[in-house]
Symmetry: C2
Subunit: 336 residues, 2 copies
DNA sequence: AGTGGACTATACAACGTTGCAGTACTTACG
DNA sequence: CGTAAGTACTGCAACGTTGTATAGTCCACT
């Protein structure tokens, strides 16, 4: 049985409460007493019992981070950064994998973990809009691209603008038949919609007519989906001279198809992705991409949550939307 | 304030304990009572308070998983699989990132989280041997390649044999100058040592003399390290005709260097990696590798932990070492 | 008719911690 | 010198849950 305040108190010859005061850094404790208690703590190897603390205070010191999947390098990176940011506030991060399942996401929102966590940082895939309204008062910060005025704080890049930047990079190279890979129908697939919108905007700016045959759907955002979409693009009629993939994994899959068929990149077809994952910096050719400022996203998400947790009433203030910068990174796959 | 047993009891007109009994599925509750209580639970949206539960039972239902880094696809995959396996036991997994820092690892082992977690699945990088002995009774399962008879249960593939298999694949192709990338000096870098040993064994079997110039060190196990090591290999004297990289990331980095210099793979140099991460299945050329049975590793780790948690005394039985299978996956980078 | 057992429900204590109220002693000040 | 303010410490209650003990009811079998 691990020692408690009781045991430390007995050993130091003081009351339980005094030990508690020492542990919590209460000021009015005589130096000699404090030293005696500290010694007892050391000797017994006392560690505060978090469960009891939480039961009293209602705070667990744990925040949850819910992402669709950790396998995806982008989310893995975000997760790592958020853990770091949370550590600076000595919070523990509980990582939840939703696999993009609506059911799992709903569980989170409806607060099945309610008592265990102080707040939630959430990157929703299946849920959108009002479905995200939290029933209990647990503060939540949304990550990624939510549309207008959701029910909670929200950190994201300007997705549409970033997609337009990527596409503009291709039109600026003089490409005319520019395909998009990653289109999704589901109304909840906000990311895909926004990137498609940005793509179309940039095409229009360049005076190009959108060709439905060039807007390739993808079930998921993985390499295999990108490879398959690219293959269809090559097999069906006139191939494009450039492709904007809605994320880097799709782009790497597309690259694989192109190279294995002997298509020159960027000679015949230029390719650009989205996210700036590490893989793209070492692929052959290296992958042009749009890089969201991930460290800043992580920092802001944690800061926002901290603000809501700071004052007791989580309801203070209306939801805020924070924009984070993005950068275009031209690499070999578009001829850098 | 969220409702507690007390509130439900009041609404249903029964005692607190009866509600507790209903919640915990105790058999001897009259159907009508049970229904009334269930209705009250629904109406109030009651959710059990985990902190209080843990305080009573000493069990949190949370296990920790500590890995060097989530960015690494191999660990991300393992993490995902462990979360799945734990979910089947309705455990929550707290993922800790050690960044391979000895200090962080020591904190874990010394049980700073002691009260918060029921058990620990740990993939140590910096710590080895007796330093890993847990002071308190928290059950621990070690992941990855620890040497003989550590202080805790341990799940791993036969690292040396797997490395030998990979190297043998290269000698079987008739390659004679086979390099290794990923050598590390630190005594705690057990993985690197074992893979080097396997490599040397296979060379010896093929009647080849090990050439120190072909054993390339790598600071980390990342793409950049692999790319740099490969560059040095090409620049210093006679280049090899095959390379065994100690993991897939190193191999992908090496691939990048080779292709950007116009070296043919596998024509001039064959490349094989280790881990079977998704990236290697979509690189150009696709990457030959050795695949550990990751799902089984995850399942066994969780099972082992469950066993230690089952009976109250965690000390039952001496540490066990479980071997998991691995498979050689020849792909394009060695001429498949 | 009496005894044992299964069934249903309850009361109480305890898990380890902290907020609040309170006690005893010291110092400061008019 | 008396009172107020500050310092050092203590005791009790409460957070929400569950294990143990207990009490009453009903039925079945001697």
């Amino acid at each position: 049985m691990p020692p408690g305040l009781k045991d430390v108190a007995a050993r130091a010859g003081v009351s339980i409460k005094t030990v508690s005061n020492v542990v919590n850094g209460y000021v009015h404790v005589a130096p000699t007493t404090r030293a005696r208690v500290q010694a007892a703590i050391e000797a017994l190897g006392y560690v505060p019992n978090m469960a009891a603390r939480q039961l009293r205070s209602g705070r667990s010191g744990v925040i949850a981070l819910a992402v669709p999947e950790l396998q995806s390098p982008y989310f893995a990176e975000i997760a790592g950064l958020i853990v770091q940011a949370a550590e600076r506030r000595s919070w523990t991060v509980l990582i939840d994998q939703t696999d993009g399942l609506a059911e799992r996401e709903r569980d989170l929102v409806e607060g099945l973990r309610r008592h265990a966590i102080d707040g939630l940082i959430f990157s929703p895939l299946a849920l959108a809009g009002e479905e995200l309204a939290l029933r209990d008062g647990t503060p939540m910060v949304l990550l990624g691209e939510r549309v207008w005025h959701g029910p909670a704080d929200h950190v994201a890049i300007d997705n549409t603008a970033a997609a337009a930047d990527a596409t503009r990079h291709l039109t600026a190279l003089g490409r005319r038949r520019i395909a998009a890979i990653g289109v999704q129908d589901k109304p909840s697939a906000v990311t895909a919609h926004q990137r498609l919108a940005g793509y179309r905007t940039a095409l229009a700016e360049a005076g190009l007519t959108p060709d439905p045959a060039l807007e390739m759907p993808a079930e998921g955002f993985h390499r295999a989906d990108g490879a398959a979409a690219m293959a269809r693009l090559l097999d069906e009629g006139a191939p494009p001279d450039a492709v904007f993939c809605f994320n880097d994994l799709l782009a790497l899959g597309a690259l694989r198809t192109l190279l294995s068929r002997g298509v020159s990149v960027p000679g015949d077809i230029a390719v650009i992705g989205f996210d700036d994952i590490e893989d793209g910096r070492f692929s052959t050719p290296t992958l042009s991409t749009v890089a969201p400022d991930a460290p800043r996203i992580a920092q802001l998400a944690v800061d926002l949550l901290a603000e809501r947790l700071g004052d007791g009433s989580a309801a203070t203030g209306s939801p805020r939307e924070l924009r984070v910068d993005h950068r275009l990174l031209p690499r070999e796959s578009t001829g850098a």
